[in-house]
C-alpha cells in the first residue's frame, strides 16, 4: 500500500532533485551578464531555482494533512500496485531487450509473454498475435515508410 503522502513526497523529491541537477549543470554555462548578452546558463539556472522552490513548497503541502475529498489517504492499493507492476515490468524488460533481440523479436516475445503467461489467451492464439505484431511492424515501418527499426545485436551476430 502506498499512501498519497508518500507518493507526493516521492514526486517532490524527484522534481526537486531534477531542479538541483539543472541548477548545478547550468552553472557550467555561466549565469549572469557578459559582453555577448545574457549567459547561456542564466535561463536554465532560473528555471532550476523555480523547480527547487516549487518542489519544496509542494513537499510541505504534501506533508500537511488536508481533509478534503481529493486528498484520499491511500493513493495506490496493493491490488492496484500489482496491476501497475504487471503492466510496467514486462514493458521495461521489453525495452531492455531491444538492443539484444531487436524490435521485431522483442515485441513478438513481449506480446506472447503478457498474453500467454497470465493465461489471458491460449498459447496458439498468443503465438499468432505475437507473430502478427512483428509482421505488422515490419510491413508498416520497414516496407511502407522505410523506417529501419533496430534489428538487434543477435541478428547482426548471425549475419542479418
Amino acid at each position: 500500500m502506498i499512501s498519497r503522502r508518500a507518493l507526493e513526497l516521492a514526486t517532490t523529491i524527484l522534481t526537486g532533485s531534477f531542479g538541483v541537477a539543472v541548477v548545478v549543470s547550468s552553472l557550467d554555462n555561466g549565469i549572469g551578464w557578459s559582453s555577448a548578452g545574457v549567459d547561456a546558463g542564466t535561463f536554465p539556472f532560473l528555471t532550476g531555482i523555480i523547480i527547487v522552490l516549487g518542489s519544496l513548497y509542494n513537499l510541505v503541502r504534501g506533508l500537511r494533512p488536508v481533509a478534503s475529498l481529493a486528498n484520499v489517504p491511500i493513493a495506490i492499493t496493493p491490488l492496484e500496485l500489482r496491476r501497475l507492476a504487471g503492466l510496467f515490468l514486462p514493458a521495461a524488460i521489453f525495452v531492455a531487450a531491444i538492443p539484444l533481440l531487436g524490435m521485431y523479436l522483442a515485441s513478438a516475445g513481449y506480446v506472447f509473454a503478457v498474453l500467454a503467461i497470465p493465461r489471458h489467451q491460449s498459447v496458439p492464439r498468443a503465438l499468432a498475435m505475437a507473430a502478427a505484431t512483428a509482421l505488422a511492424l515490419y510491413v508498416v515501418f520497414e516496407r511502407m515508410f522505410q523506417v529501419s527499426l533496430p534489428h538487434g545485436a543477435l541478428a547482426s551476430a548471425l549475419g542479418f
Binding site: 507518493l7 516521492a10 514526486t11 524527484l14 522534481t15 531534477f18 531542479g19 541537477a21 539543472v22 549543470s25 547550468s26 554555462n29 551578464w33 548578452g37 545574457v38 549567459d39 547561456a40 535561463f43 536554465p44 528555471t47 532550476g48 523555480i50 523547480i51 516549487g54 518542489s55 513548497y57 509542494n58 503541502r61 478534503s68 475529498l69 481529493a70 493513493a75 495506490i76 492496484e80 496491476r83 501497475l84 504487471g86 503492466l87 510496467f88 514486462p90 514493458a91 521495461a92 521489453f94 525495452v95 531491444i98 524490435m103 515485441s107 513481449y110 506480446v111 503478457v114 498474453l115 489471458h120 489467451q121 498475435m129 505484431t133 515501418f141 515508410f145 523506417v147 527499426l149 533496430p150
Partner: protein, 512 residues
C-alpha cells in the same frame, strides 16, 4: 471581406479529392485514438508526425488537424456509451451522457453531443476566420519584448486559470523549460544540461515526452482500475439523430454560452478539459433544470461538448497567429510546423497564405466529415471497446516504443520515453498538469530567445518590458494572472470558510 476571399481560395485547396481522403483517414485514425484508452489526441498526432515529413505542409496539417477533430469526437463516443472517457476533455460528458444512454436513449445522447460539438467547432472556426489574420497583423509589429510578454501571459494563464494547484503548474512549466534547454543553445552555441550524456546534445524531442507522458502514463493510470466495458446498445436510429439535432436550437442560450466559454479557454491556453468542466459547472448553476443534472439532462451534454470542441478548435488561433499553441495537441502540431520548415506566427499569414487558409477551410469541411464518419462508425468503434484491455495495453506500449524510436532512430529516446511514462503517471495521479509541461518543451526555446534578445536590446535592463503601453499591459496582465490564485485564496480566507462543492473535487481528478 478580404478574409472571405482568402477563405474561398482556401476552399479550393482543401476541397480536393486527395485532401478529402486525407481528412477521412485523419478523422478515422483520430476516432480510433480517441476511443482507445491510453492513446489520446496529443500522442496520436505525434505518432503520425514522422509519417508527414514527405508531404506538402498543407496536406500534412490537414491530416493532423483532422485527426484532432476525430479524437475529440471519439472521446465522446466512449464517454456516452461506456461511461469511460476516451479523452480527458470528455470526462464532463459522462456526467449526463452515460445516464441518458443507459436509460435507453443512446442515439439521442450521441446525436446531441455531436450536434453541439459541431456547433462549438463551427463557432471556433468562424472566430479563427475573422480574428486570426487581424491578430497576426497586430503581431507583425511585435519585437522580442512583446513576444516575451505574450509568452509570459500564456504561461501565466495556465497558472491562473488552468484549474490545477498553482505551484504544481509552476513546477510542471519550469521542468518543461529546463527540458527545452537541454542540448545546444541556439544563441551561444554552447552545450547545456546534458549531465554528461553525450547523446543528449541533440536535445529532448517533445514527441518522446508526449509518448511517455500521455501514452505510457495514461496506460498506467488506466490499468489501475481494470474497467469492464458495460456497453449500452450502440445501434443508431437515424430518424432520432435528425430529431435530436432539430431540438438543439431550443437550447441556444446554453449553446452560445458554452461556445463563448470554449473559445475563451482555447485562445487563452486553458485548454479543452478546463473549458468543458467550467461550462458544465456554469450550466448546472444557471440552468432552470440544474437540479436534474447528472441524470441525463440534454443541457448537461450540450454544455461540455460545445465548450470542448470550441476550445479545441480555437486553440489553433494563437498557434497560427502568434506561434503559441492553446492546447497540448496544438503544441504538438506546432512542433510539426517547425519540422516542416514553417515558422509559426504572424509571418505565416504573409508568406504561407495557401497553408493558413487551406487549413482554415479544411476545418469547416473536416468537422462535417468528422460528424458524418463518427455517426457511421459508432457500432464499429463500440465493438473495439470489447477487446480486453490486456490485449490492447501491450500493443499501445509497442506503438509508443516504436514511435519514440522513429523520431531520431535513437534507443536513448525509448528509455527516456519510459522514464517520462513514470513521470506522467505520478503527475496524473497527483494532479500536476501535463499540458503546460508539453507546451513549455515546445516553445521554451522561443520564449528564452525572446527574453535574451530583449535583454540585448535594452543592455540588460528589465525596464524594456515596461517601455510601451502594449508590452506593459501584457506583462501586468500576466502578473495579475499569476497572482489570481493567491488573491482567490485570500478572498476565501476573509469570507467564512464555505464548504467546498463536490464539483471541484471531481474536477481535480481529471485535470491533466
Amino acid at each position: 471581406m478580404e478574409n472571405l476571399q482568402e477563405l474561398l481560395h482556401g476552399f479550393t485547396i482543401a476541397v480536393t479529392v486527395p485532401h478529402l481522403l486525407l481528412m477521412a483517414v485523419g478523422v478515422l485514425l483520430g476516432i480510433l485514438v480517441g476511443v482507445l484508452p491510453g492513446l489520446g489526441a496529443p500522442n496520436g498526432v505525434s505518432l503520425l508526425l514522422p509519417l508527414t515529413f514527405g508531404m506538402q505542409p498543407v496536406s500534412a496539417i490537414i491530416l493532423l488537424s483532422s485527426m484532432y477533430w476525430g479524437a475529440l469526437f471519439g472521446g465522446s463516443v466512449t464517454s456516452i456509451l461506456f461511461n469511460i472517457p476516451g479523452e480527458p476533455s470528455s470526462v464532463a460528458t459522462t456526467f449526463d451522457g452515460y445516464p441518458m444512454a443507459r436509460d435507453g436513449r443512446p442515439t439521442t445522447a450521441l446525436a446531441t453531443a455531436f450536434g453541439s460539438a459541431a456547433f462549438g467547432a463551427l463557432i471556433g472556426v468562424i472566430l479563427i476566420t475573422f480574428l486570426a489574420s487581424w491578430v497576426a497583423q497586430v503581431a507583425l509589429a511585435f519585437g522580442p519584448p512583446e513576444y516575451f510578454a505574450v509568452y509570459f501571459l500564456a504561461f501565466a494563464s495556465f497558472v491562473g486559470m488552468g484549474g490545477a494547484a498553482p505551484i504544481k503548474t509552476v513546477v510542471a512549466l519550469a521542468i518543461g523549460f529546463a527540458i527545452a534547454a537541454i542540448g545546444i543553445d541556439t544563441v551561444s552555441g554552447s552545450v547545456r544540461l546534458t549531465m554528461g550524456v553525450d547523446e543528449l546534445v541533440k536535445g529532448v524531442s517533445f514527441v518522446v515526452a508526449v509518448m511517455g507522458l500521455f501514452g505510457i502514463g495514461e496506460l498506467l493510470v488506466a490499468v489501475e482500475e481494470e474497467f469492464h466495458a458495460r456497453a449500452v446498445s450502440s445501434k443508431i436510429d437515424w430518424r432520432e439523430v435528425f430529431r435530436a439535432v432539430g431540438r438543439l436550437p431550443r437550447h441556444s442560450v446554453a449553446l452560445l454560452r458554452s461556445a463563448a466559454i470554449g473559445c475563451w479557454m482555447g485562445i487563452t491556453p486553458g485548454g479543452p478539459t478546463a473549458a468543458s468542466f467550467m461550462s458544465y459547472g456554469i450550466a448546472r448553476r444557471f440552468s432552470r433544470r440544474g437540479r436534474h443534472f447528472g441524470t441525463g439532462e440534454v443541457e448537461g451534454i450540450i454544455s461540455p461538448e460545445t465548450a470542448d470542441h470550441a476550445a479545441g478548435t480555437s486553440a489553433l488561433l494563437p498557434m497560427l497567429s502568434l506561434g503559441i499553441p492553446g492546447s497540448a495537441t496544438a503544441a504538438v502540431m506546432m512542433g510539426g510546423l517547425m519540422i516542416w520548415g514553417l515558422n509559426p506566427g504572424p509571418m505565416l499569414f504573409v508568406d504561407q497564405k495557401d497553408f493558413v487558409w487551406g487549413l482554415i477551410a479544411s476545418m469547416y469541411v473536416g468537422n462535417i466529415v468528422a460528424v458524418a464518419l463518427v455517426l457511421l462508425t459508432v457500432p464499429v468503434f463500440a465493438a473495439l471497446m470489447r477487446i480486453p484491455f490486456v490485449v490492447i495495453a501491450p500493443l499501445i506500449v509497442i506503438i509508443c516504443v516504436v514511435g519514440a524510436y522513429s523520431v531520431s532512430n535513437s534507443y536513448l529516446d525509448v528509455v527516456m520515453m519510459l522514464g517520462f511514462g513514470i513521470v506522467g503517471y505520478l503527475f496524473k495521479k497527483l494532479f500536476y498538469p501535463l499540458a503546460p509541461l508539453v507546451l513549455a518543451i515546445v516553445i521554451g526555446d522561443k520564449a528564452e530567445d525572446a527574453f535574451r534578445q530583449s535583454m540585448l536590446l535594452s543592455k540588460g535592463s528589465l525596464g524594456i518590458f515596461f517601455a510601451n503601453k502594449l508590452v506593459t499591459c501584457l506583462i501586468v496582465g500576466g502578473i495579475a494572472l499569476l497572482l489570481l490564485p493567491l488573491a482567490l485564496q485570500l478572498a476565501r480566507l476573509l469570507r467564512k470558510p464555505a464548504p467546498s462543492t463536490d464539483g471541484t473535487a471531481v474536477q481535480e481528478k481529471v485535470i491533466i
